[in-house]
Amino acid sequence: MVSLILILVASLFFTGIVIRTKSLASGRKGPGIFQPMKDIFRLLKKGSVYSSTTSIIFQIAPSFYIASVLMAILIVPLGDYPGVISFQGDFILFAYLLAFGKFFMIISALDTGSSFEGMGASRESLFSMLVEPAFFILMGSFALLTGHTSFHDIFATLHYGSNISYLLGLLATFVFIMIAMIENSRMPVDDPKTHLELTMIHEVMVLDNSGFDLGLILHTTNLKFAMYGAIISNFFIGDLSLIYTIPIFFAVQIGFAIVAGLLESFMARFRMSHNPQFIFILTSVSLLIFFGVLLLLERFV
């Protein structure tokens, strides 16, 4: 329960910090931290416009999208405190809940019949597919290391054996930051600020969404960021008490947001055809973690 509340709180300011970091890096003052949320509230007050070529799919997809992410957040624990839902193998449900929401966004993009949105959908599904092995190898390795298969048990018992697990945690942090950037269509894979439909991935899929629906979609992105931030902080929390857990959680969230902002300020995005290569790197890093775990368990012959 505590993780759900913290994630919801973090989602309010996460994107604001990213945007503020980018503004400061480019020599501007930038909007306030809560400006993205104000924009979302403004959108939520509006009605939506639906094109006559779309069907019911297009109208329900944004709700499915945010619902799937909220469901996934219920599974995320915070250190010793389990999520609202916790059972053996819950991280598999977690991954496919996210995939479920994404699936609806993809078919809703196809539903509009626009060639732009079709291209965006095709790119998004390709990149999501490539991310999947990295996530499962990573979580599988930690399951192997701890002997548990639920998020809560894995994270709570992660640091019992040796301190090398913190090193693995660092590697896992890198992988999760990158997964979060890819899943949220941020730099270096996608550019959320671009006005060029031909280069967009996620943005082009939601071109036809407006008003309330768009507000839901935008806030889902914030939630996803905060959710990945929570998972990253779990690698360092272990079984500490809440007094330490909460500051660590927010420190990790803010640090993550600043890293995302800096990453978007000081490099150009990748060429579209280089993205798959880049995403495969995450799988390789996950494999490193896997071999590290095998070494730790002395199963490596």
Partner: protein
């Protein structure tokens, strides 16, 4: 009889001195002159309406001897001819324009279709709505149409891609949504001020380039010799405009590859340069700065000191940012080998300016047909070889530095500005006049013809974008569709310069 007559840039010529040839001689002569000669290219080819006939004028510039060859030919309206384009693709667009305006048909034109749907076209049934797009019949390929409403805020144009997945097989660019009728307005508006303002509005981002072309043309049509002060003003403004636009383009290219630092730094650097125009003449785009025979804004030592200050702040930041950008791996991976146009393609398209120099074709009016103070500057065009986005970015960076050098030496030696007494301008009767200017995008060509009373009967504009648009279409072939924006921005062509 002389087969061909040649003049300098900014020179007038009585119409009767232009040789009038039979069409087949006209064709053979002009094609023969261009054949296997990279130093020559056609700067303008257009028709002049006479009672029942059309008089075609062909202007071919020779860069090595700094001359422009003019020849003409009278043909009947609605007649059918062999095309120049079959032998030399440079003429492809000119002939489509002639067809559009005078209904002259060509038997062997490679791809015959309307150009810009100008208001005075012959066949009003041809509209942009029924434009014959290149189509295909395939299950695998898909079409992506972009525009004519631009996603950003710029001008209308339709881009139709035929793609195999992410790969572009073919791009067709169709402009012609604006129908401004600038060339006709030049004839209709009789006052010189109106015409100057028209010239300023041909393309907003090339105000100085087009206005300089107009005033140079007008002055030599009226036999007026501009003094050193006027020439100084025009040259200085041209180079400042080049610096400002190149910097803005570097910023836009950084935006398109999502490199925020470059985008904001170059964007900030462009502002003081155009603001300097505001200090000089009260307009950031340098409107009203350049006028025939006079200038209201004489250049002073104070202005020169101010410009030195602007440059002192501009230069270190520009160099630092450029050093960073051209070393940044993620930016280079987007720039290099993207949007390549080879030297052969460039030659057959007939691109001008930066779009020619990027692939190793030395085409620069400042060197080949110098006007104003360019006669005193020992200009060395910046030539790159690869023809990719990287080459175009490099040309911009290097030309900014070069222009800054020219400006610094110019403002170290300001000529005396005499009070100009608004001279009486009377164009010579029955005269042909041509003016070439190297704008920041490339060569700009203005031509004018007067009747027996000295009234304009033809004003013809060729913007540098006229041919360069095809180079853009060519550059994106076999590239990814997501690289189209960066290719487009690296050319940064003018919509309104095309839709005259």
């Amino acid at each position: 009889m002389d087969y061909i007559v040649s003049i300098n840039n900014n020179q007038s010529l009585p119409i009767k001195d232009i040789p009038e040839q039979a069409y087949h001689t006209f064709l053979e002569n002009n094609i023969g002159m261009l054949k296997d000669n990279d130093n020559r290219h056609c700067v303008n080819y257009f028709g002049l309406q006479q009672e029942s006939s059309v008089k075609l004028f062909c202007c071919i510039a020779d860069d090595s001897i700094h001359q422009i060859y003019i020849s003409s030919c009278v043909v009947n309206k609605g007649t059918t001819l062999n095309s120049f384009a079959k032998h030399n693709l440079n003429f492809e667009k000119f002939e489509r324009e002639i067809h559009e305006n005078f209904n002259i048909k060509y038997t062997d034109h490679p791809w015959f279709k309307p150009v810009r749907y100008s208001e005075n076209r012959v066949n009003k049934a041809e509209t942009i709505a029924n434009y014959p797009f290149y189509s295909f019949d395939s299950e695998e390929l898909h079409e992506v149409g972009v525009g004519p409403v631009h996603a950003g805020i710029i001008e209308p144009g339709h881009f139709r891609f035929i793609c195999n997945g992410e790969q572009i097989m073919h791009l067709e660019i169709q402009l012609g949504y604006q129908h401004r009728g600038i060339e006709q307005l030049f004839l209709k508006k009789k006052s010189l001020l109106e015409r100057t303002i028209l010239a300023e509005s041909i393309a907003g981002d090339t105000t100085v380039g087009h206005t300089t072309a107009f005033v140079n043309l007008w002055e030599n049509l009226c036999g007026y010799q501009p003094d050193l002060g006027l020439q100084f003003t025009r040259t200085l403004a041209l180079e400042l405009e080049r610096m400002a636009m190149h910097t803005a383009d570097l910023s836009a290219m950084c935006t398109d590859i999502a490199y925020q630092l470059g985008s904001s730094v170059y964007g900030r650097l462009r502002t003081p340069i155009i603001n300097y125009f505001q200090e000089w003449c009260g307009n950031r785009l340098a409107k009203s700065l350049i006028k025939p025979g006079t200038t209201n804004f004489p250049y002073t030592n104070d202005l020169a000191n101010r410009l030195n200050q602007v440059f002192a702040a501009y230069e270190p930041d520009f160099i630092e940012m450029s050093t960073k950008l051209f070393k940044l791996p993620s930016a280079l991976s987007r720039f290099e080998r993207t949007g390549v146009v080879t030297l052969d393609e460039v030659k057959s398209i007939g691109t001008v300016g930066m779009a020619a120099r990027m692939s190793g074709l030395n085409r620069d009016i400042r060197l080949s047909h110098p006007h104003d103070l360019y006669t005193t500057i020992n200009h060395q065009p910046i030539i790159k070889r690869h023809g990719d986005v990287y080459s175009r970015a490099q040309i911009r960076r290097d030309e900014v530095k070069q222009s800054m050098g020219y400006i610094r030496s110019m403002i170290g030696n300001i000529p005396d500005f005499k009070k100009h007494d608004n001279p009486e301008f009377k164009p010579m009767p029955d005269t042909f006049s041509i003016s070439l200017v190297e704008g920041w995008r490339g060569e700009i060509c203005h031509c004018a013809i007067t009747d027996s009373k000295g009234e304009l009967i033809l004003y013809k504009i060729k913007d540098s974008s006229f041919h360069n648009w095809l180079a853009l279409a060519q550059s994106v072939r076999n590239n990814e569709i997501s690289d189209f924006p960066i290719c487009n921005k690296s050319f940064n062509l003018s919509y309104c310069g095309h839709d005259l």
